[in-house]
């Protein structure tokens, strides 16, 4: 990769008796480069040193990245397997005893086999995550289908990237999160960012974002809150949560009406223009303003800027995706690029800001209910045949598609699913409608949880297996650009903890399926099989060897063979992945969110992240610095709204929806809509906002509607005083 204007040749500080291990952060899709400082006497990670020569982030790190190394040797690490004999203690931290790996494995295998004998193969399930390497994600899909022989596998990316995936697949026929490298961002002329609190969720993008404005370019932000990103925007489209589809349709309509559509591009490279033009024509600035609450002149100006910009990038994140119309929102915002032809070239395109570290790679290689490695489909016989060849099974042995993550809880409730193998995820915090989800977990006959700490979800397990942190294993992840990068091992696993791939191999052997797994004795050997399994799929990693990744500072997929350097820019040849080579401009009628405010629940509740925490907080809440900066959740309220409820800053109120309630401290700030309240979602137990959120699913992506539901605030009675 070329060195961009921010690159500086800076040496690292080397302390005596220390070595630096170049790797990446454990957290979000930015995958910031970092060097872990390792004490060579003790073989122990002791700190972090910037990785100035990593081309994407140049040594920059957010506070989570700076302190990420503190996870590895943290006092809360699980060092040995835990078994709980008394099932009545499920849902608590109580009743666990330490056990040997053999005892834990024996119990798991005995229970799994007994349940499968009595209730069939599909009584088992696997629920995984994408904060782990491609090798682990790949093997987890194989583990479910080949070792456990169950159809039921899905993963936490369902709550993260599924709408982006479904939307991009519809628009382009391919789902690579960004059509261009991140090093292009600062060189574009207009950034249109919708539903992304980039400053808090992907902070190391920010020096490139600000540079667009420093160069005289424009920043347009669509968000119900004036986030630290929106604070400096040229135009802040402060829409009501859940109304993105109207806003996106309005942008497309205004672009067409004002002559910014590139008719020859549309003609040559797209389908669906005429019907979309017809459908969006009702979305005038005035009509859209009524739906979204955004002033008409701001809508007009935003479309004008995007239309005029020689180059522009449309970006979005969970704000638009975690809705029942999430995949429609993705395609609708992507329409802006397609009707103006601002795609398939440097400095112009579309990108989603991937939430989890391997949110991109982890969704491509077979952890999804209906997916197989290389982004293949389990419903496509040709795809099944290709993967069966690598796995050494017969096509008839391949299980049917399963169900999405949230729907798995339905099947636990009705006892279709009897046992769960959970890894790399914490749904007891991260899933919506938690009262229901926790009851489902309790309803299981048997549950295994592999994690680095005793998470809120581990509290529901019968057996807890100690897995390793990212720094104690090696492999690849695919960052938010679609760049495959290398995670390097910096120290040996602590205690008796083991990497997830090894646990899966050892369990497979004990399930009598060793012949499909026993050859996988190192992460590198898993990588070899994984690359082969992806070969020929459209997420083709076959040419992305670890060696090439190190030499090239990452490899963008698709990368088909040894001579292929990879594909930093998608669609440079204006060939899209639909069978006719064209992209699809999608006509998408607006529908409101599943739950609209009413008399009983007059507020719109939206949720999101803070910069100090990651996902369910299982990792970051344990880091002292991050805990000190944000120890608890809060509900953000506009001062005028607070006035109507008679509530004050720092006062604890009851926030409730049709599904649940929780108590939060009030944080008063004008930088939020008056009709909207916001709560960060990183907290467990009674502090979880997901006790309240709506599990209504996007029909295409099966993404729950985390980002909007109807809520009400109640002032708590002060002792001796009646409630207002």
């Amino acid at each position: 990769m070329l060195k961009d204007k921010f690159y500086r040749d800076i040496p690292n500080v080397h302390h005596p008796k220390e070595k630096l291990v170049a790797t990446h952060c454990s957290y979000c899709g930015m995958q910031c480069g970092m060097n872990l400082r390792v004490d060579t006497d003790k073989n122990t990670i002791i700190g972090v040193e910037p990785r100035y020569d990593w081309p994407v982030t140049l040594g920059k790190m957010c506070p989570k990245g700076v302190t990420a190394y503190q996870q590895t040797n943290h006092a809360d690490r699980l060092l040995r397997p835990l078994i709980r004999d008394d099932a009545s203690k499920k849902g608590t931290k109580e009743g666990f005893r330490e056990a040997s790996w053999e005892e834990a494995y024996d119990l798991i295998v005995r229970k799994f086999k007994a349940l499968q004998t009595q209730y069939g193969k599909d009584s088992l399930s696997v629920y995984s995550g994408v904060s782990m390497t491609n090798e682990k994600c790949y093997l987890t899909g194989k583990f479910a289908r080949v070792a456990l022989q169950t159809r039921y596998i899905d993963y936490n990316g369902r709550f993260c990237m599924s709408s982006a995936a479904a939307g991009f697949l519809r628009s382009f026929g391919v789902d690579r999160g960004s059509t261009l490298p991140w090093t292009d961002i600062h060189e574009t002329d207009c950034l249109f960012i919708a539903g992304s609190n980039t400053a808090e969720c992907h902070p190391t993008s920010m020096f490139r974002v600000w540079e667009v404005q420093n160069r005289g370019g424009y920043l347009i932000v669509a968000d119900p809150r004036e986030t630290p990103l929106a604070r400096r925007a040229d135009i802040h489209l402060d829409l009501k949560p859940g109304t993105d589809l109207a806003l996106a349709n309005c942008m497309v309509n205004l672009l067409i009406q004002n002559g910014y559509a590139d008719e020859s591009f549309v003609q040559a490279h797209t389908n669906g223009y005429e019907e979309t033009k017809e459908l969006v024509s009702i979305f005038t600035a005035e009509y859209t303003s009524e739906i979204t609450g955004v002033a008409p002149d701001k809508l007009i100006r935003a479309a004008e800027i995007y239309g005029k910009a020689p180059n522009a990038i449309v970006m979005f994140a969970r704000g638009i995706e975690q809705q029942t119309r999430g995949s429609d929102n993705v395609s609708a915002y992507t329409n802006m690029c397609l009707i103006t032809g601002k795609i398939g070239r440097p400095k112009s395109g579309v990108a989603t800001l991937t939430g989890q570290g391997n949110g991109q790679g982890g969704r491509e290689h077979g952890q999804k209910a209906d997916a197989l490695p290389g982004y293949r489909k389990i419903t496509n016989p040709k795809h099944v045949g290709e993967v069966c060849k690598v796995w050494g099974i017969e096509p008839e042995e391949m299980p049917q598609p399963g169900v999405s993550a949230y729907e798995m809880f339905d099947l636990m409730q009705n006892k279709t699913i009897r046992a769960l193998y959970l890894l790399c995820s914490n749904p007891a915090v991260s899933a919506p409608n938690l009262n229901y989800v926790k009851a489902a977990l309790k309803n299981l006959d048997f549950m295994v949880c592999a994690d680095i700490y005793l998470s809120e979800s581990a509290e529901f397990a019968d057996v807890v297996l100690p897995s390793v942190t990212w720094s104690e294993d090696e492999g690849t992840v695919t960052n938010l650009e679609g760049r495959i990068i290398k995670i390097n091992k910096a120290q040996e696993p602590i205690g008796e903890s083991k990497p997830d791939w090894l646990i899966e191999v050892e369990l497979a052997e004990r399930m009598g399926r060793g012949k499909y797994f026993s050859h996988l004795t190192t992460a590198a050997k898993v990588a070899e099989e994984f690359r082969l399994a992806s070969k020929g799929g459209y997420a083709d990693y076959y040419g992305a060897t670890w060696d090439k990744i190190e030499k090239q500072n990452g490899v963008f997929w698709p990368c088909k063979d040894n001579d292929d350097p990879g594909t930093p820019y998608m669609f440079l040849d204006q060939q899209y992945y639909h069978s006719d080579g064209k992209a699809k401009i999608c006509a998408l009628p607006y529908r409101p969110p599943a739950e609209e405010p009413c008399e009983q629940f007059p507020l719109r509740l939206t949720t999101g992240r803070v910069v100090y925490h990651y996902l369910s907080g299982n990792q970051t809440r344990r880091i002292q610095f991050l805990h000190d900066m944000c120890p608890e959740p809060y509900v953000e309220v506009h001062p005028e709204t607070a006035g109507q409820y008679g509530i004050e800053h720092d006062e604890i109120v009851r926030l409730f929806t049709r599904r649940g309630e929780a108590h939060f401290k009030v944080k008063i700030i004008e930088a939020i809509r008056k009709d909207t309240v916001f709560v960060p979602y990183h907290f467990g137990h009674e502090q979880s906002i997901n006790l309240l959120t709506n599990p209504a699913l996007d029909p295409m992506s099966r993404m729950p509607e985390f980002k909007v539901c109807a809520a009400q605030i109640e002032k708590k009675a002060v002792s001796g005083e009646a409630v207002r």
Partner: protein, 187 residues
């Protein structure tokens, strides 16, 4: 070429990565020595960092009766020397920016030393190394001159300019919020 710390406050997103990074510098004993303030927390999310500005004639050192605060040839104003500091806390009162912190247990002042073990080798301090927004930058004097030219906008200027926003001359340079005012747009 000599490099210096430059703060472009408008870029700050309040992530406090600089605070976390400060704990990671070799001699910092896991304690941070810098600050990030919410400017108007009930209204918006504007934040600004405040690091030691390494004054050319530092009030902390001037006020120290024990001469415990050393100034390096590069102009870095160091933490109090353990063997000299008498714990009087004059420095914490004298500093116009409230930078020096005081360790009650050790009866010792500690403050930003501009990551002297890094910067003396030309390596940027930890705060500027990690800052995700380029609020904190480690730049050459030429680059600073360019910035000052670019942001010569009435009162929104770097330090040591006609309408000097700071108390005195500092080795660390700043631009107050507002750098985009009057920006010539591309189109």
């Amino acid at each position: 070429m000599k490099k210096l710390l430059y703060i472009e406050m408008d870029n700050c997103i309040g992530c406090r990565s600089c605070l976390a990074a400060c704990t990671q510098c070799g001699g910092h004993d896991q304690r941070n020595r810098n600050y990030v303030y919410d400017v108007n927390p009930f209204v918006n999310r504007q934040t600004i960092p405040l690091m030691c500005l390494h004054c050319v004639n530092p009030a902390c050192a001037r006020s120290c009766p024990a001469q415990a605060i050393q100034i390096t040839p590069e102009g870095a104003v160091l933490s109090a020397m353990v063997e000299k500091c008498i714990g009087c806390q004059n420095c914490t009162i004298a500093c116009p920016y409230g930078i020096p912190k005081f360790d009650e247990e050790q009866n010792l002042m500690y403050k930003c030393d501009l990551c002297y073990d890094r910067t003396k080798e030309g390596i940027p301090p930890m705060c500027a190394s990690v800052c995700p927004t380029n609020t904190l930058q480690w730049i050459t004097e030429d680059e600073l001159a360019e910035k000052q030219e670019q942001y010569r906008l009435g009162k929104w200027i770097s330090s040591h300019q006609p309408f000097d926003p700071l108390e005195g001359e500092t080795n660390v340079k700043i631009s107050l919020p507002g750098i985009l005012q009057g920006k010539q747009k591309l189109f």
